[in-house]
């Protein structure tokens, strides 16, 4: 069995067994399949790439062929316990719309994103004067699918503006330091947010 990505393990740790889950930009379905196996979730994916859809179907997953920006139409309010946007929010064109729609169709939303203010990125930019390439931001400026570059503090501020409540924050990065100073030492973050304060 292939090694399970650490962020997938973190997300699985957040999700309750038997939940109804929608993964926006689910790729080949590795995360969803893992959640089916570990948390017995009812899984649904949305994915734009046809070849990735084939891989999802081969895993026995249900997937809807669409981009993230228009893929949420048609779902009634609070259809899902969790809507997951893992490493895909930064590739979305209409962030506000997708965030609002995710908070509408999902009771809770899990957002995983790379932290542009991670220390390695800062030092590349500062000392080398080059656009940073890190494990969570592995692309060159000319071939990146990412449309947005945000830091953990940026996302905190965004949630505040949106009046969405942050229920949980998980950081992946330099051990111990990432927890203490996430915006500097976390390479990526996973936020659990909701529209209605509990």
């Amino acid at each position: 069995m292939a090694e399970i990505r650490y962020d997938h393990q973190v997300i699985s740790g957040i999700i309750e067994t038997g939940s109804k889950v929608l993964d926006l930009g689910c790729g080949g379905g590795d995360l969803l399949k893992y959640l089916v196996d570990t948390k017995n979730v009812q899984a649904q994916g949305i994915e734009l790439d046809e070849e990735a859809i084939h891989r999802c179907v081969a895993k026995g997953l249900s997937v809807y062929h669409s981009d993230i920006d228009s893929g949420l139409k048609g779902y009634p309010d609070k259809t899902f316990d969790y809507v997951i946007l893992n490493q895909s929010l930064q590739q979305v064109k209409n962030i506000d719309y997708v965030t609002d729609e995710s908070l509408r169709v999902g009771k809770k939303v899990i957002v995983g994103f790379p932290n542009f203010a991670f220390i390695a990125s800062r030092s590349t930019l500062f000392f080398q004067g080059r656009v940073p390439i890190t494990a969570s931001l592995p692309y060159e400026w000319h071939n990146t699918p990412n449309l947005r570059f945000l830091s953990i503090d940026d996302f905190e501020y965004y949630c505040e503006q949106k009046k969405s409540q942050v229920i949980d924050r998980r950081y992946i990065g330099v051990p111990l330091l990432a927890e203490a100073f996430p915006n500097l030492f976390a390479e990526s973050a996973i936020f659990l947010i909701t529209a209605t304060p509990e």
């Binding site: 046809e50 084939h54 999802c56 179907v57 249900s62 048609g74």
Partner: protein
């Protein structure tokens, strides 16, 4: 390629008067004969049956070969040992729709009231009527619940109609390159075909049996149909502006290969298809509308899973229509997978994109058959 070998078409007859089939129009039809073929073996639990529903000009002969014929059934690439509809695992049933002309009761059949072919005395039939007749066939075969019902184009409409009429009798459906309702554009093309037939002097208000058939009209209708089944790109690739002769004829004989192709298609079609069936079946498609409230009732708990497929270059049944189907299902919290397959073949793609369809359908059916049937109370 594995093949099913020689296949024979069978038939059942039911709805003997006075117990005729009551049609959607309120009219009665009986007796009703349904021609069908089966491939593979029904298991002891009778839980591996898949109904394959044909498109407009299809018939019961979906796979294998008829004795002495060189061409296999219309979906032979998809049905057989090891194929998408794997006959080593599944029992596949295919039947000719009522209103058709390939063994099932249609306008060319003998009207018991007159002893002559029905012609226009044949009642108008609809997609629900076709599906109710198929249900009788499934009952006759002793099958309570279908593992799946699958088909493209008009076959997809029947698959959707099964989900609407008998949601508890199917465990899954695979509607391909189809729609919840015929659009004005789709109705318009059908009407051109019907008008071509009815304008043929040999049509005689449908009363042409035993005489010259309205072959010109039917051929023209088919030519129009074929244009709608292709795409701009597939026609460019297939014909471009290639000609039979180097020089233009400067006349109205067919210079271009595409003209010759359409004429050939028209001329071969009249040998195998009845003009009145063309009228009746296109009308059935035009009446088809299970959109919105007419779809599966919102409060109905449906366990059936759906695989919806469309094709990028299909402008006759564009992908937005398939997305509409998927959205109606999503609104009802019904499990659905939707994929738009890359293809340049236009509407014909559902018969041609075998590899992509096979991969998706095979895995989808595996998932459906692995899941235990929810207990029927």
């Amino acid at each position: 390629m594995n093949t099913l070998g020689i296949i024979q078409t069978k038939e059942i007859t039911f709805a003997q008067p006075p117990d005729e089939l009551i049609l959607e129009s309120g009219q009665k039809l009986g007796p009703v004969t349904v021609a069908y073929e089966t491939y593979g073996t029904l298991n002891a639990a009778k839980s591996n049956a898949i109904l394959v529903t044909h498109a407009f000009s299809g018939d019961a002969h979906a796979a294998g070969y008829h004795e002495g014929e060189e061409k296999p059934g219309w979906w032979d690439a998809m049905i057989g040992p090891g194929k998408a509809f794997d006959t080593d695992k599944y029992f596949v049933i295919s039947s000719n729709v009522i209103g058709g002309c390939k063994g099932s009761t249609g306008p060319a059949s003998i009207n018991p009231a007159t002893g002559k072919p029905y012609g226009l005395d044949f009642p108008i039939i609809t997609i629900p009527d076709m599906v109710h007749a198929q249900k009788r066939l499934i009952d006759h075969l002793g099958i309570d619940t279908l593992l799946s019902v699958a088909g493209g184009s008009m076959g997809g409409m029947q698959a959707l109609q099964w989900a609407v009429s008998y949601p508890e009798k199917i465990r899954s459906a695979i509607p391909i390159a189809t729609t919840l309702k015929h659009s004005p554009q789709q109705i318009a093309f059908d009407e051109v075909g019907r008008q071509a037939i009815m304008a043929d002097p040999d049509w005689h208000e449908g009363d042409y049996y035993g005489k010259a058939h309205p072959e010109r009209g039917l051929a023209i209708a088919r030519m129009v149909g074929h244009i709608t089944y292709m795409s701009d790109q597939s026609m460019e690739e297939k014909f471009s502006r290639r000609r039979k002769e180097n020089d233009y004829a400067f006349s109205f004989k067919s210079d271009f290969e595409v003209e010759g192709y359409l004429r050939y298609r028209g001329d071969t079609f009249v040998k195998r298809f009845d003009a009145n069936s063309y009228l009746y079946i296109t009308k059935a498609m035009d009446y088809f509308d299970v959109a919105g409230k007419k779809f599966i009732a919102a409060d109905k708990k449906v366990d059936a899973q759906f695989l919806i497929l469309s094709f990028q270059s299909d402008w006759l049944y564009p992908s937005y229509q398939s997305r509409d189907i998927a959205n109606e299902l999503r609104m009802r919290s019904i499990d659905v997978t939707y994929c738009e397959i890359k293809s340049t073949y236009g509407h014909d793609a559902f018969l041609l994109e075998v590899d992509a369809e096979t991969h998706l359908i095979k895995h989808f059916l595996e998932k459906v058959s692995q899941q235990k049937k929810s207990p029927t109370v």
